[in-house]
Amino acid sequence: MDAYIRSVTFLSRVTGVAAALLIALAVLVICDIVVERYILNLTTIWQIDVVTYSIVGATFIGSPYVLMTRGHVNVEILPLHIGPRFRYWLALITALLALGFCIVLFVLCTQYWYQAYAEGWKSNTVWRARLWVPYLSMPIGLGLLVLQYFADVMSVATGRTPPFGIKPAEDAEELLRAQAKQALGDAS
């Protein structure tokens, strides 16, 4: 079990770095667009597509990392105000629900990617990009998201991590204080 969690954590980190680099790439290409279009008065061909696909790709590929670091925002009001037992079951049920959705999305998106690949879909833009390349971010990102979610469910079920990341003795106010401390730390 621990080996599984460790390897998924490692993969999520790797894709997290890849997603951050994709965003950085988008910044660079936008600068290129601005220079070519507004300074050199040239028309851009591939740049807009590359920027858009980088950001969409980063969203799919970065998702497992964001899940692992509890960055996918949720409403914590109910989990904070219930007892530890109920919180444990609620965490499991919601995680299984979300896992179910991710599996459905992974299957549907993989089919969609395969269709684009098999039928050689091209984008409607000037560049006529082969769509299976950017679409590949869906099966990769969502596949790893499913693995990461499964690791999360197992960690909560076996008591490795507290449900919703809320420690047993912690109440609502303490959690908010901890978040505030973190925000203060980030800004320093």
Partner: protein
Amino acid sequence: MSPTTQGGIVLVITLLMLLSGIPVAFGLGAIAVVFLVLFQGFDSLHVVAETFWSGLDDFTLVAIPMFVMMGAAIGSSPAGKDLYEALDRWLYRLPGGLVVSNLGACAIFAALTGSSPACCAAIGRMGIPEMRRRGYPDEVATGSICAGGTLGILIPPSITFILYGIATETSIGRLFIAGVMPGLLLTAMFIAWTVYKIWKSGFRSHEAGFRYSWKEKFTSVPKIAPFLLIVLGVMYSLYGGVATPSEAAGVGAALCLILAVVIYRLWKPHQIWQILRDTMRESVMILTIIAAAVLFGYMLTSLYLTQTLAQAIADLHANKWVLMFLINIFLLVCGFFIPPAAIILMTSPILLPIITAAGFDPVWFGVILTINMEIGLIHPPVGLNIYIVNAIAPDVPVTKVMWGTLPYVICMMLAIVILCFFPEIATWLPNTLMGPGK
């Protein structure tokens, strides 16, 4: 089953789902998939992947990670401290100058970073001890910083407006410019209240003979000016029609990153990685909610739920101001629990038909909605700003900070009322600069 019953079921399940603590994006997506299958069968699933992808495949959305990166670069540098010092050095002789420096620094910094907690942390760390040292009451010192931090989502560039613009297909440029005057109005109201409060309780400024030299004044400028120039440049290129929001924000992000490296020497790999990582986490979170919300919206329209709801409300023939009042209460309550991004993406496709049918301007409504979201940021039960301020000044009890923010919450509610009576405060500037709206 009638669409009204279906609508009721969807609404109740959505609320339960969100309150359960499931990540907003996955909760919305799960509901969309389940109801599509329930009411339209398994065949309806073949559009899910395409809808999810096309919800994100839009060059306009690129503006979000770019503005987030701009904010992350400025927020991770000590620019907040410099901004505060610069304003204080220039304004210290004015009566209540410290308040103006604080709230002014909050307004500018929050606009630069687009993050309310980051602003509270950066300005508060300097401002709160200084105000308390000069004898300002604790609740004023803490409350004003809490409230000041929220101004950022109203003053452009604002990610809240980008999300609203995308969800409702309203011009983002127009929304940005519509936020300027209400943002200044709120800043002025905050300053007026604070000055009144400290004037009543008696305060002292710097010691009588105290002076900052011209040298001190001018050395404070060069560190801050480039960031301000970048943001002004971004805004100018947006309104001059020079560039699209994504292009302007992309160049802005690159320049802010370079400045953070050059001026503040954030060149160590882990510092740059922190900016990139924060940008990625925040952008991925928002973009995933956008994709899920597009799927959710697709489910609502394909089951005719949005149309039915808008029709049902139109059939009530309720007074439009009663309607606006109820919508405000609804948004306010949502804002207490749910993060702004989720509220905007979920509710605006439903609210927009109702708003336009009642004859309200969607740009004006975007401003009203944003002020409602601001209130949620400093109001319990969540109100993260309150706890940040509490961490800066741990000896001020949380309840005191909450009482301190209350007058500012009232200011915001008052601003909503003023905007209802004088919608021109929001609509005049965009109409004048960009021509009348649709």
